[in-house]
């Protein structure tokens, strides 16, 4: 009986606590995230840090950023549970990593990869005054341009 109670009631009780306290945490976290994403041109929420990503998807985004030599601000969601949930609520996006350019949510790993492949990323970076290293490299070797 005790077991039954624990199993059935505890989760309800726990959820009730979460539901009660969420709105407070939400408002503060939302404000915090708002500041973070507007404070830098490119912001990445990821698992781990750029030098040691702790998820393959986060790592892929780091690699893309590195390839374009983009300066960015990164936040490790594993280090802060509020941010981990908060960022999902903020952008209404269920997964990590998340990339913001000029305060706007751009996408996760799949979208970044596609934007990288289509050349759209170079354009988006240009809009915020960041010149992709790939663009610089392409300009410095006009001969390879002709070959293409």
């Amino acid at each position: 009986m005790n077991n039954l109670l624990r199993r059935n009631l505890l989760p309800i009780y726990n959820n009730a606590i979460k539901l009660t306290y969420r709105p407070f945490a939400d408002a503060a976290t939302k404000e915090k995230i708002d500041k973070i994403v507007k404070n830098n041109k490119v912001v990445v929420f990821m698992k781990g840090v750029p030098d040691a990503p702790r998820c393959g998807f986060s790592n892929a985004v780091v690699q893309i950023m590195r390839m374009h030599a983009v300066p960015y601000d990164s936040h490790d969601v594993l280090a802060d549970e509020n941010i981990r949930q908060g960022i999902k609520d903020y952008s209404n996006w269920p997964t990590i990593p998340q990339v913001f350019i000029n305060g706007e949510f751009v996408g996760g790993c799949d979208i970044m990869l596609q934007m990288h492949q289509s050349g759209e990323l170079v354009e988006e970076l240009k809009k915020v005054g960041i010149k992709s290293a790939l663009l610089t490299a392409a300009e410095e070797s006009p001969k390879s341009e002709e070959k293409k």
Binding site: G56, F57, N59, P94, T95, G108, L134, A138, K148
Partner: protein
């Protein structure tokens, strides 16, 4: 430009890893498939359980990749297509599905593509924390 192409190639090789092993589809996998099929009237649909690539119990349904080809994506930017899929699978994402990789194409884009879908990047151990 050639360098740009080269770096794209190298990116793809970073992402290339072993393909999924075959096993019978789980409950979540079936739910994802039927939701996407019904609502998006998918012309082509792959639901790939990539959980085995991660540090989760055997048979787990935590990491998925979906390939959806649908007329309903016509005229929608990528982010809206992804949001559409995410919204359809909201319940699953809130109750155990931890990673969802999405390829969302229109039938025309799918026909023009090489129809090869890269496997997701290898896990780096962030799961469970």
């Amino acid at each position: 430009m050639v360098r740009l192409l080269q770096s794209i190639k190298s990116m793809q090789s970073i992402l290339r890893s072993y393909r999924r092993m075959s096993s019978s589809p789980g409950v979540v996998e079936n739910t994802i498939r039927s939701k996407l099929q019904t609502v998006l009237e998918a012309k082509h649909l792959d639901v790939i359980n990539e959980s085995y690539m991660h540090n989760v119990p055997k048979g787990a349904e935590t990491h998925f990749k979906v390939v959806v080809v649908s007329d309903k994506f016509d005229g929608l930017p990528l982010i809206k297509r992804h949001r559409l899929v995410n919204d359809l699978l909201k319940e699953e994402l809130q109750s155990g599905v931890h990673a969802l990789s999405i390829v969302a194409k229109t039938p025309q884009q799918w026909d023009e593509s090489d129809k090869v879908v890269e496997s997701s990047p290898n896990c780096r151990g962030g799961f469970g924390k």
